[in-house]
Structure formats: C-alpha cells, structure tokens
C-alpha cells in the first residue's frame, strides 16, 4: 500500500501540467479563473486543441480515440484540468453519448458519430428528464411510434441543458406503453434540426440561460438512429450511472475554489488584518481542505478497486454525494470571502461579455456560481436518490 504517486505517475502529471500551461488559450483561461461561462465557439476551440493532442476523450476505448491511460492517469488528468484551470470538455459528448455508442452502437453509428463527438463538431444534449419524470426517471412518457423506417416522437423534455447549442440529442422515449416502467424505453439519437422540435430557454438561479425545456411534436427519427434494441434503452442509460467514477467528485473544482478563496483572502482586510490570518476563516478552510483530501483518497480507492467494466460500483454514489456537498461548501467559502463584493449582479459578465477588466471583476461571478452550485446535489440523481442507492446496494437495507 502506497498512497503516493509512482515516479511514472509523477512524470505523467508533469507532462499534463506542462501541456495545460501552454495549451490553454489566455482568454479561455482567464474566463475559467474568473468563473465565467464559455461560449460554444470557445468550448469548440478548446476541445479541438485537446483533440489535436489526442486527449479529448481519454477514457474511450483506444480503438475509438481513447488514450489507454490507467484510472490513476485519468484521475490525474481531470484533476490537473480542473486546477489549471481549463474548461471541462462537454460531458454529454465525452462521458455520456460517446461511451454508450462505443458499448452499444453499431459500427456504422460509431464511424458516423464518434469522431464528430470527440472534436465537438456535433454537440450533443441529453433528452432524459420530463416534467413528471425527475428522480423517477423511468416514469418518462415521451412516446415514439414506429412508422416504417422512422419513429414518430411526441412529448416534452425538461432540463435539456445546452439544447440551444446542440446539433444532436440523445433521447429516451417510451416505445411500449404497456410494458413495466423500466422496460419499454428506447434510446434514440435525434438531429436537432428535425422539424417539430421547439426549444424554450429556462433561466436558472444564476441568471444564466444554459438549460431548456424541449417540446417534440411529430418529430421523425430514422430507425438507424436507434441505439441497440428497441425497449432496451433503460439498460443503455443505466450503463452510465456509477460507471463514471473518476472525476465524478470533481475534487479539482473544489480545490481550485478553496485555493482562490485563500488567495483572495490575503488581500482582503478584516478589521485591520488580512482575512487569511483570521482564525475562524482558517479553520473553515482547514475543515474543507481536510474533507477534500479525504475525498481525493476515497476516490482513488474506489477507482483502483478493480471493478468489472461496465458494472457500476454503487459506492461511487459516495463520490457524487460528498463531492457535491464539498463543491457547494467551497462555493460558500468563496462567497464568505468576498462578502459585500459579491452582491453586485452582472449577467453579462457571467457570460463573459465585458471586455474591459475592472478591479472588482473578481467578485462578480462568485454569487451566481454559488447559487448555481445548488444544482450539483440535484442533477444526475439527487443526493437523496444516492442515499437510497447506497442504503439498498451497499448496506442491504
């Protein structure tokens, strides 16, 4: 047992650090530091830089563009990416539809989609949730009726984040209304230019538009865009749950936030002394850093515990739960650090629209990002659902 990185792993980390130091464009890095949201062209630009390096999709099967890295290497890569900081590649593409296609797609589908997904030529969004199907996703009702060589799809999706950027959508639909809940669901790929799709923006608590509701009215999807078999879509969707163990805790993001809070606190005066020297502040920082260190190791333990490929490890729910709590706590620490400075609201700055830097820019994204951080304990299976999963699968309750 040795928790230290091996010499090889350290060398790999240096290589990754070095790459991020050079490869992240200055304007993009600045947006990351300031907590601003990236535009579609910016994320495309960055994804293509990664793609050129061969690092756009490390976890994929090497045959389809993966790097063949060990779990530890993949972990190092994500950590360093978050800490650089550099933008995270589009999760819908890299972590979700890519792996599903690789596992269940036909060769033709793989050839057609995977390179474009990796380069972000195709931007995918996710059409899973519905107004009545949130935590209880399997109760979804969007229907698809087979008519000749295409499905006719009708229904309403919710939380289709980045649908307004997307060229494609991976979609769960109900093809057998009489089957048991989890059965009768089919997994389709939908061209977002198809007639019958209406995307309506939903502005979130941070004042930003990133997610949407999506109405589907007689949308035609060719049978050839179906993943796997009809009525087996739930299995393909579930394949992802708990499979994405490295990076799910997003420790790097929390660490970066804490680091930034500490840096800022050095220049913030609290009653005649730097805030960074205040015992209370230091103890709150320490509590967070200790929990982050613990989670980092917990994550490594779970990653390195060899699990059969494709078999979700229920303990990854721990990473999701604890990781989201710590992301929120770190966002709160930043907010506490900023104090009054965080009160000003500037929607345009969050989008990265301002070009002339001001000395108080640094605080403008702190509150919105802190508000928006509430979503991390809700999306992808709320923390309550994660607790249900752990109680059942790990504790046998």
């Amino acid at each position: 047992m040795d928790l230290r990185f091996t010499a090889d792993e350290l060398a790999f980390r240096d290589e990754v650090q070095q790459f991020f130091r050079i490869a992240v464009p200055a304007d993009i890095r600045r947006k990351c530091v300031l907590g601003q949201r990236l535009s579609k062209p910016e994320l495309q630009r960055w994804t293509r830089i990664l793609f050129e390096k061969g690092w756009a999709t490390p976890a994929w099967d090497p045959e389809w563009g993966g790097t063949g890295w060990s779990p530890v290497q993949q972990y190092i890569f994500k950590e360093e990416l978050h800490m650089a900081p550099a933008p995270e590649p589009l999760s819908f593409n890299v972590n979700m539809i890519g792996p599903v296609l690789i596992a269940f797609g036909t060769d033709e589908q793989k050839r057609r989609f995977l390179p474009s997904i990796a380069r972000l030529d195709y931007w995918f969004c996710q059409g899973f949730s519905e107004p009545g199907a949130g935590s209880d996703l399997a109760s979804l009702r969007t229907s698809a009726r087979l008519e000749g060589d295409h499905y006719m799809v009708n229904g309403q999706k919710l939380w289709t984040s980045t649908a307004h950027h997307a060229e494609w959508c991976f979609l769960l639909v109900r093809t057998d209304p009489n089957a048991k809940k989890q059965q009768g669901i089919t997994y389709l790929l939908m061209d977002m230019r198809s007639p019958g799709i209406t995307v309506r923006p939903i502005v979130t608590i941070d004042g930003h538009h990133e997610t949407n509701e999506m109405f589907l009215e007689n949308v035609r999807i060719p049978v050839g865009n179906r993943i796997g078999e009809e009525n087996k879509g739930w299995d393909y969707a579930k394949y992802l749950l708990g499979n994405e163990r490295s990076g799910i805790a997003r420790v790097g993001i929390s660490k970066m936030r804490v680091r930034r809070a500490k840096e800022l606190a050095r220049n913030i005066d609290a009653g005649g002394r730097p805030l960074s020297e205040d015992r209370g502040f230091r103890e709150r920082v320490a509590l967070l850093e200790i929990e982050l260190k613990a989670l980092e190791i917990t994550q490594m333990r779970l990653i390195s515990a060899a699990a059969p490929a494709g078999k979700p490890d229920p303990k990854s729910s721990i990473l999701k739960m604890k990781g989201s709590e710590l992301q929120q706590a770190a966002a709160q620490l930043l907010l506490e650090t900023a104090g009054y400075e965080a009160m000003e609201f500037d929607r345009d700055f969050l989008r990265g629209a301002h070009s002339t830097p001001s000395p108080h820019d640094w605080a403008l994204t702190i509150a919105p990002n802190h508000y928006f951080a509430r979503h991390v304990s809700i999306v992808g299976g709320s923390n309550e659902i994660q607790r249900n999963i752990l109680a059942k699968t790990v504790l046998g309750l």
């Binding site: 209880d136 005066d269 609290a270 609201f345 309550e384």
Partner: protein, 380 residues
C-alpha cells in the same frame, strides 16, 4: 413576558399582509423587478398611506412614534413578499440616522416627506476596504474654519437604493485615522449635488444599489447631523436596529420558502406517491421548521434588544441573532431548493429568489461568521 401583539400592531400586520397578498404575489413582483426603478412606486405610496414609512419617527416630527416591534412586523411581512422597495435605506438606515442624530430643523424638514413617501434616502457609509468594520472610514470631511462649508471626498460602496435616493446620509471622517472609533460625522448630501457620482447596479437579489464617489462635494454646516466626530455610536445603534429588522425579514422569507416547500412536497409526485410521503424528506422539512422557529425566537430577541441603552449588551444580542439567523436563512433556503429538485434552481421558481435574498441578508451588515466572532470575543 408577553408575546401578544397590541391591537394597533395587529392592525398593521393584518393590513400589510392583506395588501401584499393582493398586490405583491410572485407575478406582480416580477413586473416590479424587471421594470424601472426595480421596485414599485405605487406600493411605496400605499406603504405611506398605511403609515409604514413614518413608523419609527417621533410623532412630534411627523412620524408614528412606533418601536422595534412594529418594525419587526413590517420587515417580516416584507420578507414573506420579497418586497423590493427601499424601506431599509430610507426608513431604517438613513431614517435611523436622522431620527437619532438629526437636528430639529432637519427632522421637521425631512420626516414628513419620508412619511408621505415623497423623499427617498440612502445611507452611504460602507467603503470597499472596510468589510464589516463600521469604524473603517476613509472618506473625509474638511472645512477651513468652524463656520465654513464642509468639503467631502471619498468613495462609498454597496449603498442600498442610492440610485433612486433624493438625499444621501454620508459618513465621513473629520479627524483620526482609518479605523479610529472617534472622528466620524454624518452629513446630509443631495444626491445630485455637484461632485456626487453614482454607479448604479442590480444586486444578486434584484434589489438596487450604487457605488457613490464624492469629489469635493460641498455642503453647508447645517448639513451636519449631530456632533462632528461622535457619529460612530449613532451609526452602531442604527445598524443594530437595522440588523434586528433584517432578522425579521429573513424569518419572513424563510417561513414563506418553507411553506412553498411543504406545499410542493404535497403535490409533486414521483415513484407513484407525493414526495412528501418519503420520511427522509419529511424529516428534512421538520428540521427546517425547527430552525425557523429558533430563528424567529432570536429575531424577537434582537427586536427587544434593539433599543437597549447599553451598547455592549445590545451589540452582543444583535450579533447573536444575526449570526444564527444569517446561517439559518441560508440553510433553509438551500433545503427549500433541494426539496424542490431541478425546478428549485430556476428563475421561474420562487424559492430561488428567497434563497438569493437570504444570501444577501446574511452578508448585509456582517455575515454569520463575523457576528459569531463578535459574540465570542465579547462574551463574559
């Protein structure tokens, strides 16, 4: 010991709650929020008609001569409705300075106009570098001779509702160094006076504010409130009274956010049942309830202590309340969002707005960490 409202207090509560229920629901509020000036002049007139704007001022000055309990009642109702109007800066902050330090001439000039809703004030005190230290003031006020005009120079930040204020009450240093407790003075400054510049913005909770710079702003000697050099104790009293009101506002906001959450738990169905039937969520809602009741108790405590003469006793009670209520407000807001699920993080859903306001309330006039440290430092 007595927790009953007097008939007059009950009348204020009933009247205001009725008004807000009728005219300040979420949709009305949205109209005010996105319109100019970011709040409702119509509501402001109605508050004036109800007497709310003259509430704390002496009857001899044109006010109603009410005390902290009435302010608590009003603030709690505003908290429930997430009212956007400039009540805190006009009536409590600047109004408080005027009430406690204004000359008879200043009071008889301004109070009737505040009360009738025709005069808006803001309190330009906090400076960027000061964080929560009320004594940290670098804005200067100078005059060549004892009878000459004052010249003000400096920069004030986060001045609530300064964008629409007709007059500012500005704190400035007439002597001493940056964080000295003595040497401060308060001045009444016309918002449009030469040398006053305002950069207006929206705050995270939709309320309005501005940064104010003062460049060689000249005011005559009768613009001074109270005695030059001794303003800090006045500022502290005003801030303590306002913190008590903020606590009440937070309790109102928490209570409403909790009600909305419990209602949602009853109607939202997942897995074939209302999610309020799941025990873990029930217990979470109960923990919110307990926290709110505790916060309500401390809001009452702050109200009772808001006019305590002994500054140390008063400050300790006020800090105790603010430290708890600030934190509780955040926790309740967070759970309200969590129990709403995805819809809770959208702008269309009310709970997010409560959370944003509760977050700003925690920061305003010192966050929970700051006030806990105050209590810890000063306790026996």
């Amino acid at each position: 010991m007595d927790f009953e409202l007097t008939p007059d207090q009950q009348m204020i509560t009933d009247g205001l709650q009725r008004l807000l229920a009728e005219r300040y629901d979420f949709e009305h509020r949205k109209v005010h929020l996105f319109g100019a000036p970011g709040w409702s002049r119509d509501m402001w007139s109605r508050y004036a008609e109800m007497g709310l704007l003259g509430l704390p001022f002496a009857q001899s000055d044109g006010g109603l001569g009410c005390g902290p309990v009435e302010t608590m009642i009003v603030s709690e109702a505003f908290g429930r409705a997430l009212a956007l109007e400039p009540y805190i800066p006009t009536v409590l902050l600047a109004g408080g300075c005027l009430r406690l330090a204004g000359t008879p001439a200043q009071r008889s000039d301004l109070v009737p106009r505040i009360a009738e809703g025709s005069e808006l004030l803001a309190f330009a005190h906090v400076e960027r570098q000061a964080r929560y230290d009320l004594a940290d003031v670098t804005t200067t006020a100078q005059r060549p001779t004892a009878s000459a005009d004052w010249t003000l120079n400096g920069a004030k930040s986060f001045v609530l509702h300064a964008d629409t204020a007709d007059k500012l009450i500005v704190s400035a240093r007439v002597s001493g160094r940056q964080r000295d407790r003595s040497g401060l003075a308060l001045f009444l400054v016309d918002s449009n006076a030469p040398g006053v510049a305002r950069r207006a913005y929206v705050m995270q909770d939709g309320m309005r504010a501005a940064d104010v710079t003062l460049s060689n702003v000249r005011v005559s000697s009768d613009a001074l409130l109270g005695t030059a050099g001794n303003a800090l104790p006045i500022i502290e009293r005003v801030v303590d009274c306002t913190i008590a009101a903020l606590c009440a506002e937070a309790v109102g906001a928490m209570t409403r956010a909790h009600e909305l959450t419990v209602e949602y738990l009853k109607v939202r169905k997942q897995f074939g049942a209302p999610i309020g039937s799941f025990q873990a969520l029930q217990h979470r809602a109960v923990d919110m309830l307990v926290m709110i009741e505790q916060a309500r108790s401390l809001s009452m405590y702050a109200t009772m202590m808001a006019e305590e003469a002994d500054a140390k006793t008063r400050a300790q009670a006020i800090s105790a309340a603010k430290s708890y209520v600030g934190r509780a407000g955040k926790l309740v807001g967070e759970q309200a969002i969590q129990l709403h699920g995805g819809i809770g993080v959208t702008e269309e859903c009310a709970v997010g707005h409560y959370y944003r306001r509760l977050t700003m309330i925690d920061i305003l006039l010192g966050d929970s960490a700051h006030h806990l440290a105050v209590v810890a430092a000063s306790a026996d």
